[in-house]
Structure formats: structure tokens, C-alpha cells
């Protein structure tokens, strides 16, 4: 399973053999350890690494208030006082549970494979909050074996060190930094009313332009209007669009899906992907499908809305996560109970000056 470009392998090639030896010892260690009943974590270079922040995994709203009103010292003390009380689930929790379910199915079919999801807790929370986070992870029986608590430092360097395939955070500044470094990332928002999600199938929905594809076409819409856009798309129907920040993540999902297909499990495949785009099928849809085909990628369902709101459709799909670059669509999705994640990429960002992407978080967010 190849890692996206731009992430470094780390370590030198001449120490690869010693690393292999090490890895064999780690495997033996985990397989034999009586203390852990959980399955052994995969080697990062083989796995699909999903990094989640502590505030997306758990609901830390009350604690954050303490941080904002009373400062860092009191916040850490407060967390320590409540150490044995697990947090309640946060906005990426259902997504993480769905990933774990896929892993369970993969292990059934391929017991020795390391092509699995590896969920890493990546937070710039202080290490002392770590005990409460670990207690909470145990409480919900989550398979999170790796974490980085950077005590206030930026996690971006660590994202690369862990060969991260997708990073989810509530802090849009960090998400933006990650995208600039070539790591797929999205900002998550709290969701008030949540739809009932499938617990047997991971469902991921993607917007097209500026998420899977580059924002080249959106630039045309914004600058020259819809008619020019339609003409342009028809003219360049056979020219593939350039890649967007989440293309590689869709690719890794596709690779895992194929592992089920080869074992005749297409119908009951525990991963399903959706393209939910404002494009219309007739005038601008062909280019999108042809681009995906040229990349060797598939989505299970491609839904062309021709400008209709995405909220109601998403409500029917019930994805564990929906990626879009425009806040307008994120809000529309949230209003009808869908967990939405904003991808701060491309020209769509400049057209939302009036809408704050939770900027109050970015300034005070340095320590947690």
C-alpha cells in the first residue's frame, strides 16, 4: 500500500534490515503479551493512518471552557481531577468505530495482512491530560494504540512522521497547515442532531471540486459564471482534472474495498463511498466520471445535484463523514444531522469572508 507523496519514510535505508528485525520482535511481543487482548497494531508504512485530535474524538466542550476562562494551569488540574471520568464521544467517534469495524472484517479475511486502518490520537493537548484520554479510550474499547501529545507544539511534523493518510481536527489552522504539507485533512464541527448511522458499513461522502479534484473548475465558475463553466467542462470532457487534497484518501479506501471484492464480498463490503457534487450530470458530470476512471478510481454512488442543496440527500445516505470545501454545504449538511468536515482548500475559501471558520478556536487553541 503506497503512502502519499510528500510524506517522508524517515530512518535510513541501511537501517531497514535492523528495522525489519525489530518489527519481527514487536510482532512476537504483541502476539504473546498476556496483558493485551487487542490485536497487534500494523506497521505504519503498510497501514492507512488516520490521525484524530482529542477534541474530535471526545466531547471536551466543558473542559475547553475552563481553559478559555481560567487558563492552562487550571485546565490541566481540572482534567486531572476528573481523570477517572471518561469523556463522552465526540464528532469523529462514529467514524472511528466504523474504521474499527472495517479492520475486524479485514482481519477475518486476511489475518496476516497489515493493510488496515491505524488510528492515531494526534493532539497538542498536554501530556497530563493523557491519562484521562487513555482511560476514555479504554472505556469505549477503542483500538487506538498510538498517540502524540505534543504539549502545545504543532503536530504537523508528527503527522508526517506517522505517515498520516488523513488528519481530522477542530482547529482549522492546523488543518490548513496539514493540507499545505500535502496531507489530506479536514476540520470537523459539532453536530447537534445526529442521524442513526450504520454500524456494519463505513460510509464516506466526498464533494468533487476542490476536494477530490483541484479547484480549477471552481475558479471558472467564480470568475466567469456557470455558462462558461458548462462550456468549458464539455470542451475538456476528456481531459482529466487535477488532483485534490482528498484524492489519495479515496484511493486508499478503494484499495481496501478491492480486498473484499477479490473474496467475493462486494455486496457486503463494509466500505461504501459517495460522490455528492453540485455539478449536474448532463453538462459537467462526464468529465468527473472520466477523471475518476483515468485515475483507476471508483465511487460506489455518484450523485449529481445540479445545484440543489446537499442536506436532504446526505440525510438519506447517512455517511460517517462528509467532506466539502464550502462552508455553505457544510452548514447545510449539519442542519439535517450529517457529520461534516470542511476541507480548507482552493478558491472557495476566499468567497466566504463573511463566514468565520470558527476563528475563535484558532487563536486560543494553541495549548489544547
Amino acid at each position: 500500500m503506497s503512502k502519499p507523496e510528500g510524506t517522508e519514510r524517515g530512518g535510513q535505508s541501511n537501517s531497514d534490515n535492523s528495522e525489519e528485525k525489530d518489527w519481527a520482535a514487536v510482532k512476537a511481543f504483541f502476539d504473546n503479551a498476556k496483558t493485551t487482548k487487542k490485536p497487534r497494531p500494523p506497521k505504519p508504512s503498510n497501514a492507512v493512518t488516520i490521525a484524530v485530535s482529542s477534541r474530535t474524538l471526545f466531547n471536551m466542550v466543558k473542559e475547553r471552557k475552563v481553559f478559555e476562562e481560567e487558563g492552562l494551569e487550571r485546565y490541566v488540574e481540572h482534567q486531572q481531577e476528573l481523570e477517572d471520568q471518561p469523556f463522552s464521544p465526540g464528532v469523529s467517534f462514529p467514524f472511528v468505530k466504523a474504521l474499527m469495524n472495517v479492520n475486524a472484517r479485514l482481519r477475518e479475511l486476511y489475518p496476516d495482512s497489515e493493510e488496515l486502518f491505524d488510528i492515531v490520537l494526534m493532539t497538542n493537548n498536554h501530556a497530563q491530560v493523557g491519562v484521562r484520554l487513555i482511560n476514555s479510550i479504554n472505556y469505549y474499547d477503542l483500538t487506538i494504540e498510538r498517540f502524540c501529545m505534543t504539549g502545545g507544539e504543532s503536530p504537523i511534523g508528527y503527522l508526517k512522521a506517522y505517515m498520516t493518510n488523513l488528519y481530522l481536527s477542530k482547529d482549522s489552522k492546523k488543518v490548513q497547515e496539514a493540507i499545505e504539507e500535502g496531507i489530506a485533512a479536514a476540520t470537523m464541527f459539532p453536530c447537534d442532531s445526529e442521524n442513526e448511522l450504520s454500524d456494519t458499513q463505513l460510509r464516506v461522502a466526498f464533494d468533487g471540486d476542490a476536494v477530490l479534484f483541484s479547484d480549477e473548475s471552481e475558479i471558472i465558475v467564480k470568475k466567469h459564471g456557470l455558462d462558461t463553466f458548462f462550456r468549458h467542462e464539455k470542451e475538456f470532457e476528456n481531459k482529466p482534472l487535477a488532483q485534490g487534497p482528498l484524492k489519495c484518501f479515496l484511493e486508499t479506501l478503494g484499495k481496501l474495498q478491492r480486498k473484499f471484492y477479490t473474496k467475493n464480498q462486494r455486496i457486503s463490503c463494509p466500505i461504501r463511498t459517495y460522490l455528492v457534487t453540485a455539478r449536474s450530470a448532463a453538462s459537467a458530470g462526464a468529465r468527473v466520471l472520466k477523471t475518476l476512471r483515468s485515475w483507476g478510481l471508483e465511487v460506489d454512488e455518484a450523485l449529481f445535484l445540479a445545484g440543489a442543496p446537499k442536506g436532504p440527500l446526505l440525510q438519506k445516505i447517512k455517511p460517517h463523514i462528509f467532506f466539502d470545501d464550502q462552508m455553505f454545504h457544510i452548514e447545510g449538511a449539519q442542519e439535517l444531522g450529517t457529520i461534516a468536515a470542511h476541507v480548507p482548500y482552493g478558491i472557495g475559501q476566499k468567497y466566504h469572508k463573511g463566514k468565520h471558520i470558527d476563528t475563535s478556536d484558532t487563536e486560543k487553541n494553541e495549548k489544547i
Binding site: G10, Q12, S15, S18, D22, Q128, N138, E153, Y162, K367
Partner: protein, 273 residues
């Protein structure tokens, strides 16, 4: 010494001169009047000096300060002079110099109540640990103004029983003994550095302590965090790798002091320079 009381310093750290100066880079054509070329430990000492400055800023009569002593094995008179001169030249605050024979290293460390022996040589570190002297690896560091210490979460978080069972997985007796010895040695250092850390607030501290659990589960890491807290050391950063390669993470953290106890491959550390 009674490490439960709020102790008085200094926190003595011993270095060897071949880590302080890079003798390998000297050639025959090097001008003998120049100071010796800088080695890895110079940036470490500068970072230590900044911590000391900040401690004294807060309290003029602070006694819990770092003190660095330099050990030189088997030196000619000429080199001895150059060492003393070069130390002065670079403005390094070195408390004492010890010129001794190779076999006298351990004795020198013990008789000077060294709280930490730092070396880039893994064998020296292991030997010291086995004789009960706290020892750690002097890692490659960047020119930051924060002194970074990494403590092994595996060493602190694992229990006695699980340590013994490691022999089933291919670890030699020596490695396991090193591991156990390190845990005992680490406590005294941890208590002192914990007190020092508490002189500063959580933000803007010139001293940063991290826990790295390379092999153990998250529970081992949680156990390490709680144990260290019990010793008075509130760690700033924590990493749990569950077997993932260490070097990429270390390349980001860039510690000065790495309490590695041999449970993960030190070979890939040695190739970092």
C-alpha cells in the same frame, strides 16, 4: 540521599570530552592554535546554561542548578591544555575537569555523585547503568533554546513480571538487566528534574520533558505518566508508538537527552548525526 525532601542541587551532569569536541574532524593541517572543533555536546551545554540563567532569574540563591563536569580519558598533556582553552573559548560553563585512565571512568562518576552521565557511546551508557550510575544517550540536537529530555515510558511503565517475560521474545539477559537498572537510576534524576521543571510554568519553559513509549501499550504509557507524577515529575509531551519506528518521531522532537534503555533499536539512533 533523601529524595523525598525538596532537595538542594546541584544536578551534576558528566560529559566526555570527545562528545564536546569533534576530534575526528581535525586533520594534520589544522592550525594547532585554534580551538578544538565543536562537537555535539556544545549545543547541549548552551541549552543547559539557559536553563540555569532562567532559574537564577527567578531566585538568585537557587541551588538546584545544572552543573556540568568534563571527563577526559587517556589524554596527552597537550590535549589537556587544548581542552581547557577551548572550553574557555566557547564560553562553556564547566565546573570541573577530570583527567583519568580508561578504567577509572566509573569510579570518577561514582565519587562525584553524578546524577546523569551523558554519552554518545552506547556501550559507555550501558556499562554505567549496570553499575548503578544514571546514564543516557546524548542525542543529536538542534539549536533550540529549550532543553529537551526524553524518558523511556517502557522502562517506567512496565512491571517487574512483564520485564522478566521479555526473555521469551528474544531479548538477552544483558538487555533486560540494563532495562531494570535504568529504571532504578532514572528515579533520582526524575525527581530532581521534576523539581527543576516546576520552577517554571507550563508555557515558556526552557526545559521540556517527554515520555516516549516505544513498545508498551497505551496502558503502559498511562502507568508511566502516573508513576512519574508520583515522583513529582509532570511531563510535558507523551508519545506512544506501539512498535512504530522511533527515528521519525525523534527527528521531530530532537531531544538532547534520551533515556533509552535498549528496548528499541539503538542502531538507527547511532546513524543519526
Amino acid at each position: 540521599m533523601d529524595d523525598e525532601k525538596n532537595c538542594t542541587g546541584p544536578l551534576i551532569i558528566a560529559l566526555q570530552y570527545n562528545d564536546l569536541f569533534d576530534l575526528d574532524s581535525m586533520s594534520a593541517s589544522t592550525n594547532t592554535d585554534d580551538a578544538l572543533p565543536k562537537g555535539r555536546a556544545v549545543t547541549f551545554i548552551k541549552a543547559v546554561q539557559i536553563v540555569n540563567e532562567r532559574l537564577v532569574e527567578q531566585k538568585e540563591t537557587e541551588s538546584l542548578l545544572f552543573e556540568v563536569i568534563l571527563i577526559a580519558k587517556e589524554c596527552s598533556e597537550e590535549i589537556k591544555m587544548k581542552i581547557v582553552e577551548s572550553v574557555k573559548y566557547y564560553g562553556l560553563e564547566i565546573g570541573k575537569f577530570f583527567f583519568c585512565k580508561k578504567e577509572e571512568l566509573i569510579n570518577t562518576l561514582q565519587s562525584n555523585k553524578v546524577k546523569l552521565f551523558l554519552s554518545t557511546d552506547r556501550d559507555d551508557v550501558c556499562e554505567a547503568l549496570h553499575t548503578g550510575i544514571p546514564a543516557a544517550l546524548l542525542y543529536d540536537q538542534c539549536d533550540d533554546h529549550v532543553l529537551k529530555v526524553i524518558i523511556s515510558g517502557d522502562s517506567i511503565g512496565f512491571t517487574e513480571d512483564s520485564l522478566d517475560s521479555l526473555s521469551d521474545f528474544g531479548f538477552s539477559e544483558t538487555q533486560i538487566e540494563t532495562f531494570k537498572a535504568a529504571k532504578i537510576c532514572m528515579k533520582e534524576f526524575a525527581v530532581l528534574i521534576g523539581q527543576m521543571r516546576r520552577r517554571f510554568g507550563r508555557e515558556n519553559s526552557p526545559l521540556c520533558i517527554c515520555v516516549l513509549t516505544a513498545w508498551g501499550s497505551t496502558n503502559v504509557c498511562a502507568s508511566a505518566l502516573k508513576t512519574l507524577r508520583g515522583w513529582g515529575l509532570d511531563v510535558d509531551e507523551a508519545f506512544c508508538l506501539a512498535g512504530a519506528p522511533c527515528s521519525p518521531i525523534l527527528a521531530v522532537v530532537k531531544p538532547h537527552i534520551l533515556w533509552d534503555c535498549g528496548l528499541h533499536n539503538m542502531r538507527d539512533l547511532a546513524t543519526q548525526s
